[in-house]
C-alpha cells in the first residue's frame, strides 16, 4: 500500500504538470476573449515533440545533451517530496524514505541545480540569445533566492521544522490569528514563484521576442525529445511551487493519513487552492505589462523585504 502510494507520489507531479499549464493557457485565453486550446493540449504537444527527430548545434557540447535530463530529474526528485494531498512521506523500506528530500533547503538548492544547468545549456551553443538568456536567468535566480528562501524560513520558524510535510502538519494547528505573518510571507513567496517560473511581470512564457525573453532564449536551440523534457521540467517546477505555496501557507485540509475520505477532501481542497493560484497567475498575465529588466530587481527585493518583515514579526511576537 505504502509502496504503491510512494510510486504514485513520485509520478504525480510530472503527471499533472502539463494539465496545470493547459489550465493557465485556457484561463488566459478566456480573459483575452479567445476560445483557446483544450486544457489537455500540453500533453499532445509533449507527445508530439517526443516523436520528432532532433537537431543539435554543432558548437554545442555534452552539456547541451545532458542538461535536459538533469533538469527534468531534479524536478521529479524535488516533486516527489512535495506534499500534494497528504503529508505522508514516500518510503520504500523502513530505513529508506524520501524524508531528506523534503528539507526546504535541499529543495531550494536542488531546484537551483536545475537552473544552473539550464543557464549552462543556454551558453553552450554560443548564440547571443542563449548567453543573454543565461545572464538574465542567473540574475533573476540569484535575487529571487532571498525572497524564496526567507518566505520558506518563516514557515519553518513558525512550525519549528525544516521538513515541508511536518511544516504543513504543524501549521494546520496554528490558530487563525497567528497567520498574519504567513500571509505576508506568502506574498513574498508568490513574487518568487512568478520570478522562478519565468512568469509575468519578470518574463513572458509565451513569446520568442528576442529583447524580452529569458527562459525561452536559453532553450532556443533545443528540439525534439530534449525540448519536450525542458518544457515538461518547466511545467513540473511550476506545479512544485504552486503545491508548496498552496499547502504551506494555506495548510488546511492536507490529509495526514491514507484514508479514503480524508484524501478525497484533501483532493478537493487542493484543487480549489491551486485553482485560485492558477487563476491569479493568469489574471496577472492578462492585466499587467512585463517589467523592464532593471525594474525586476525592485520587485525581487520587495519580495525579500516582505519575507524578512514576516520573519521579524514571527520571532518578535
Amino acid at each position: 500500500m505504502t509502496l504503491f502510494f510512494s510510486l504514485i507520489q513520485i509520478v504525480a507531479i510530472p503527471a499533472i504538470s502539463p494539465l496545470f499549464v493547459g489550465i493557465i493557457r485556457k484561463l488566459k485565453a478566456r480573459m483575452q476573449s479567445r476560445v483557446g486550446a483544450d486544457i489537455f493540449q500540453p500533453y499532445r504537444d509533449l507527445s508530439k515533440l517526443f516523436k520528432k527527430d532532433e537537431i543539435i548545434s554543432k558548437d554545442a557540447s555534452w552539456i547541451t545533451k545532458i542538461a535536459p535530463y538533469i533538469i527534468f530529474t531534479v524536478t521529479v526528485v524535488v516533486g516527489a517530496a512535495v506534499p500534494i494531498v497528504t503529508t505522508i512521506i514516500p518510503s520504500f523500506t523502513p530505513g529508506f524514505s524520501l524524508l531528506p528530500l523534503s528539507d526546504f533547503i535541499v529543495m531550494v538548492y536542488l531546484l537551483a541545480l536545475g537552473t544552473f544547468f539550464l543557464a549552462l545549456a543556454g551558453m553552450d551553443s554560443g548564440s547571443g540569445f542563449g548567453g543573454f538568456g543565461s545572464s538574465r536567468e542567473m540574475m533573476v535566480a540569484a535575487l529571487a533566492e532571498g525572497g524564496l528562501f526567507f518566505s520558506l524560513l518563516v514557515a519553518s520558524v513558525a512550525s519549528g521544522s525544516g521538513h515541508v510535510p511536518s511544516m504543513v502538519v504543524s501549521l494546520q494547528t496554528l490558530p487563525f490569528t497567528s497567520f498574519m505573518p504567513l500571509i505576508v510571507a506568502f506574498l513574498a513567496f508568490f513574487i518568487a514563484l512568478l520570478a522562478e517560473n519565468n512568469r509575468f511581470p519578470v518574463d513572458n512564457p509565451s513569446t520568442h521576442l528576442e529583447l524580452t525573453m529569458i527562459h525561452e532564449a536559453m532553450i532556443l536551440e533545443y528540439s525534439g525529445k530534449r525540448l519536450a523534457l525542458m518544457e515538461w521540467a518547466t511545467a513540473n517546477k511550476l506545479v512544485i511551487f504552486i503545491a508548496l505555496g498552496a499547502n504551506i501557507f494555506f495548510p488546511w485540509g492536507v490529509a495526514a493519513s491514507l484514508e479514503g475520505h480524508a484524501i478525497l477532501l484533501a483532493f478537493v481542497l487542493f484543487s480549489l487552492k491551486t485553482g485560485a493560484l492558477l487563476f491569479s497567475i493568469a489574471f496577472i498575465e492578462s492585466t499587467m505589462a512585463k517589467f523592464r529588466v532593471f525594474r525586476v530587481p525592485d520587485l525581487l527585493f520587495t519580495s525579500f523585504v516582505l519575507a524578512v518583515t514576516a520573519l521579524c514579526i514571527i520571532i518578535t511576537f
Binding site: 543539435i56 537551483a112 548564440s127 545572464s135 532571498g146 532556443l220
Partner: protein
C-alpha cells in the same frame, strides 16, 4: 607507542621537507639542467612528506592520542614546543591532503617554467612553504609560532614572485609582503600583550591563565589578533592582497595559498577564542558574524565582476572565508550565551566548510592552472570552447563549480546547510540585536549562494562552452596525467565528503569537543566513539539518500527515454544565427554576462566606464577612427582606507626624519640626552 606519533615521527616529517628543499637547490646547481631533476626531487619529497603528514593526522585522530614535546633552545623565552591535539590534527590533515594533491600536480605543472626560471628555487620554497604550514598547526609557543608564521609568509612571498620577470608579479608580491607584515605586526602585538598579561609565551600557560586577564587587556589582545589573523584570512577590508597575490603564484601554489594558507588564520582564531582565552564576550561573536556576512557578500560580488579566472577564484576565497566566519561567529555567540551544544555544532559547521573549501578551491585553482597553461592567458574573454579540447579538466572544473555553488549532494552544500542550521538557532535567541545580526547573516549567506551560482555559470560557461574566442584557445592541449590525477582525486573527494556528511559531521563534533580537553595526551576522540555517535548525526543531513535517489531517477529516466526514442534521428546543424555568420565576437563574454548584476549592485561596486574616442577630423567629429572603452570596478578600500593611511604614514615619517641631520655631533648629543634621561628615571624609581 607508535613511532609516528612520537617526537621522532614529527622530526622525521620535518626532515623530509628539509631534504626535499635543500636537495632541490643542490641538484639545480649540480646538474645544470635548468632544474628539471631538482624540481622533480622537491615535489616528490613534498608529496612524500604530505602523505606522511596525512598518516600522522589520521593516526592521531584514530588512536585519539595527542603528541606534545619540546626541544630546548639556546635563546631566552624561545622554545621549540610542539603540540598536536585534535584541532591540530584536523588542520594538519587538511594541509597534508591539499599539499599532496598540489605536489602531484606540481610534478608535471612545473615543467611549464623549464628554461624560463630555475625549478630548484621553486622546489626549495615550495618545500619550505608546505613545511611551515604544517609547523603552524603544531607550534605551541608564542615566539616559535611567530618564527614559523614568518617562514610561511616569506616562503609564500618568494613563490608569488617566482615568475619575477613579470613586473605585475613583483608589484603583487610587494603588496603581499607589506600586508602580511602588517598582519604579523598585529599578531606580535597580540602575543606580547598576552605575554604581559600572563608572563609567558607558552600557549599552555595562556590556557591556564585565561580567567585572570583583565577585560581591557582581553579586548586589546582580541582586537590585535582579529586584525593580524584577519589580514591573513582576507577579511574585507583587509583582503586587498589576496586577489593580487594568489593569481600571481604558480597554480599549485595558488591552490595551497587559497585552499589552506588562509585557513591557518581560521585555525588561530579557533585557538585564541576557544582554546586559549574562551572568555570572549558576546560582542566578539557578533563582530565575527557581521564581518563574515560582509566578506561573503562583497567577496562574491567582486568575483562576479572579474574576468581574470584566477582573480575570480581568489575573490571566492574571500567569500568562503566569510562563510566560515559565519559559523565561527555563531559558535562564539552561543559560547558566550552559554549554549555549549549549539556552539559545538556551529564550530563543526565552520570546520566542515574549512575542509570543503580547501578541497574544492584547490580543485578549481588546479583546473584554472591547466586552462592557463593550455592557453597562456588568465583573461577569460580569450577562452571559449575549451570543453572539447580539455575534456577532463572541464569535467573536473564543473564538479568544483557545483561544489562551490553549494549544490547537493556535493560537499559545499553539506557545510552551507550546517551553517544555515547554526544560524537558524540564533534567530530565536532573546536579544533583539542578536536576532537582527543573525538575520543579516542568514540573508548574506542566502544571497551569497545565489550569486556564487551565477558567478560559476559565468566562469564555466565563458571558459569552456561555446566557440573559441582566440587563436590560443583553438590550439589548447589537455594536461598531462599527473595534473589530471590530482584534480580527479579532489573531484571524487568533493562528492565523497558531501555524500558522507553524516560521518564527517560526527567526526568534526568529536574534534571540536576535544578542544576543551586540557591535556593533549588524553584526548578522548577515538574512532569507535565516532561510530557510536554516528547514528545521532546520520539523520541530520543524509545526503547519501539524496544522491542515491537523484542518481536512480536520472538513470531510469535517461535509459527509458533512450530506449523509447531509439528510432528518432539526431542531426547536427548550425546554431540559429538570424541569417548572418555567427562569429566568436557575438558570444556572451564574462564582462557582458555579469554586466546586469553589476548594474544592480552599482551602489556597492561603483563601476567605472571610460571612453576614449579618436576622430578622423577633430573639427567635424562625425567619423570615428578608433574608440576605446575601459570598464572597471571602483576600489573604495584603497581610496578611502589605504591611501590616506599611507599618506599619513609618509607625513609622520617625513616629520620624524628631521632628527636625522647626518651630523655625528648631533647623534652624540642624542645619546647623551638619552643617557641623562635614563639615569634620572632610574634614580627616581
Amino acid at each position: 607507542m607508535d613511532i609516528m606519533l612520537s617526537p621522532i615521527g614529527i622530526l622525521l616529517l620535518l626532515s623530509v621537507f628539509i631534504i626535499g628543499g635543500f636537495g632541490a637547490l643542490f641538484l639545480d646547481r649540480l646538474l645544470n639542467d635548468g632544474g628539471r631533476m631538482g624540481g622533480l626531487w622537491a615535489h616528490a619529497f613534498a608529496l612524500g612528506g604530505s602523505l606522511f603528514g596525512l598518516i600522522i593526522s589520521a593516526k592521531t585522530l584514530l588512536v585519539g592520542q595527542g603528541i606534545a614535546f619540546s626541544i630546548p633552545s639556546p635563546l631566552p623565552l624561545f622554545l621549540f614546543d610542539f603540540r598536536i591535539d585534535g584541532l591540530s590534527a584536523f588542520f594538519l590533515g587538511v594541509i597534508s591532503l591539499i599539499a599532496a594533491m598540489a605536489s602531484i600536480y606540481g610534478l608535471s605543472y612545473q615543467t611549464h617554467f623549464l628554461g624560463l626560471y630555475r625549478l630548484g628555487r621553486l622546489g626549495f620554497f615550495y618545500n619550505a612553504f608546505v613545511c611551515s604550514l604544517m609547523l603552524v598547526t603544531m607550534a605551541n609557543q608564542g615566539l616559535f609560532f611567530l618564527l614559523v608564521w614568518e617562514v610561511m609568509s616569506l616562503a609564500s612571498y618568494f613563490l608569488v614572485i617566482y615568475e619575477h620577470r613579470k613586473p605585475e608579479n613583483i608589484r603583487a608580491g610587494f603588496l603581499y609582503f607589506l600586508m602580511t607584515h602588517f598582519g604579523t605586526a598585529f599578531i606580535m602585538l597580540s602575543f606580547f600583550l598576552a605575554y604581559r598579561a600572563t608572563g609567558s609565551f607558552s600557549f599552555d600557560v595562556w590556557r591556564a591563565a585565561a580567567g585572570a586577564i583583565d577585560p581591557m587587556m582581553q579586548t586589546f589582545i582580541f582586537l590585535a589578533a582579529l586584525i593580524g589573523f584577519g589580514t591573513k584570512a582576507g577579511i574585507i577590508p583587509l583582503h586587498i592582497w589576496l586577489p593580487e597575490a594568489h593569481p600571481a603564484a604558480p597554480s599549485h601554489v595558488s591552490a595551497l595559498m587559497s585552499g589552506v594558507m588562509i585557513k591557518t588564520a581560521i585555525f588561530m582564531f579557533i585557538r585564541i577564542f576557544f582554546d586559549f582565552f574562551p572568555i570572549a564576550s558576546i560582542e566578539w561573536g557578533l563582530t565575527f558574524l557581521v564581518l563574515g556576512g560582509i566578506s561573503s557578500l562583497l567577496g562574491v560580488l567582486y568575483a562576479l565582476s572579474e574576468h581574470d579566472l584566477k582573480r575570480l577564484l581568489a575573490y571566492h576565497s574571500v567569500e568562503n572565508i566569510g562563510i566560515i566566519l559565519l559559523g565561527f561567529g555563531a559558535s562564539l555567540t552561543f559560547m558566550s550565551l552559554g549554549y555549549e551544544k549549539f556552539a559545538l555544532f556551529a564550530l563543526a559547521a565552520a570546520l566542515y566548510h574549512t575542509l570543503n573549501h580547501a578541497i574544492f578551491k584547490a580543485l578549481l585553482f588546479l583546473g584554472a592552472g591547466s586552462v592557463v597553461a593550455a592557453t597562456g592567458t588568465r583573461n577569460m574573454e580569450e577562452y571559449g570552447g575549451l570543453v572539447r579540447l580539455l575534456p577532463f579538466t572541464s569535467a573536473f572544473f564543473l564538479i568544483g563549480s557545483l561544489a562551490i555553488s553549494a549544490f547537493p549532494p556535493f560537499n559545499g552544500f553539506a557545510s552551507e546547510w550546517l551553517t544555515f542550521q547554526a544560524l537558524f538557532i540564533g534567530i530565536v535567541s532573546a536579544s533583539i540585536i542578536v536576532k537582527a545580526i543573525f538575520i543579516f547573516a542568514i540573508a548574506s549567506l542566502t544571497f551569497t549562494g545565489g550569486l556564487a551560482a551565477a558567478c560559476f555559470v559565468k566562469a564555466f560557461g565563458v571558459t569552456f562552452l561555446a566557440r573559441p574566442r582566440s587563436e590560443e584557445a583553438t590550439h589548447a592541449h589537455e594536461s598531462e596525467w599527473p595534473m589530471l590525477a590530482a584534480m580527479g582525486i579532489l573531484a571524487v573527494l568533493t562528492l565523497v565528503i558531501g555524500v558522507g556528511s553524516g560521518f564527517v559531521i560526527s567526526l568534526l563534533v568529536g574534534i571540536v569537543a576535544s578542544i576543551w580537553l586540557s591535556n593533549p595526551s588524553t584526548l578522548a576522540f577515538p574512532f569507535r566513539q565516532f561510530i557510536e555517535t554516528r547514528s545521532q548525526f546520520a539523520d541530520i543531513l543524509p545526503l547519501d539518500t539524496v544522491a542515491v535517489i537523484t542518481l536512480a531517477v536520472f538513470v531510469v529516466l535517461t535509459v527509458a527515454i533512450m530506449v523509447l526514442s531509439r528510432s528518432r534521428k539526431v542531426s547536427y546543424g548550425r546554431t540559429w544565427d538570424c541569417g548572418t555568420e555567427l562569429g566568436p565576437r557575438m558570444e556572451i563574454t564574462s564582462t557582458s554576462f555579469s554586466r546586469s548584476l553589476i548594474t544592480i549592485f552599482q551602489g556597492i561596486l561603483r563601476p567605472t566606464k571610460q571612453t576614449d574616442v579618436e576622430y578622423h577630423d577633430e573639427e567635424m567629429r562625425y567619423f570615428i577612427k578608433s574608440q576605446e572603452v575601459r570598464t572597471g570596478i571602483g576600489d573604495p578600500y584603497r581610496q578611502a582606507l589605504y591611501r590616506p593611511l599611507s599618506a599619513a604614514l609618509t607625513m609622520v615619517a617625513s616629520r620624524v626624519r628631521l632628527v636625522q641631520s647626518g651630523n655625528i655631533n648631533m647623534y652624540i648629543l642624542y645619546v647623551f640626552i638619552t643617557l641623562i634621561a635614563l639615569i634620572v628615571w632610574a634614580a627616581r624609581s
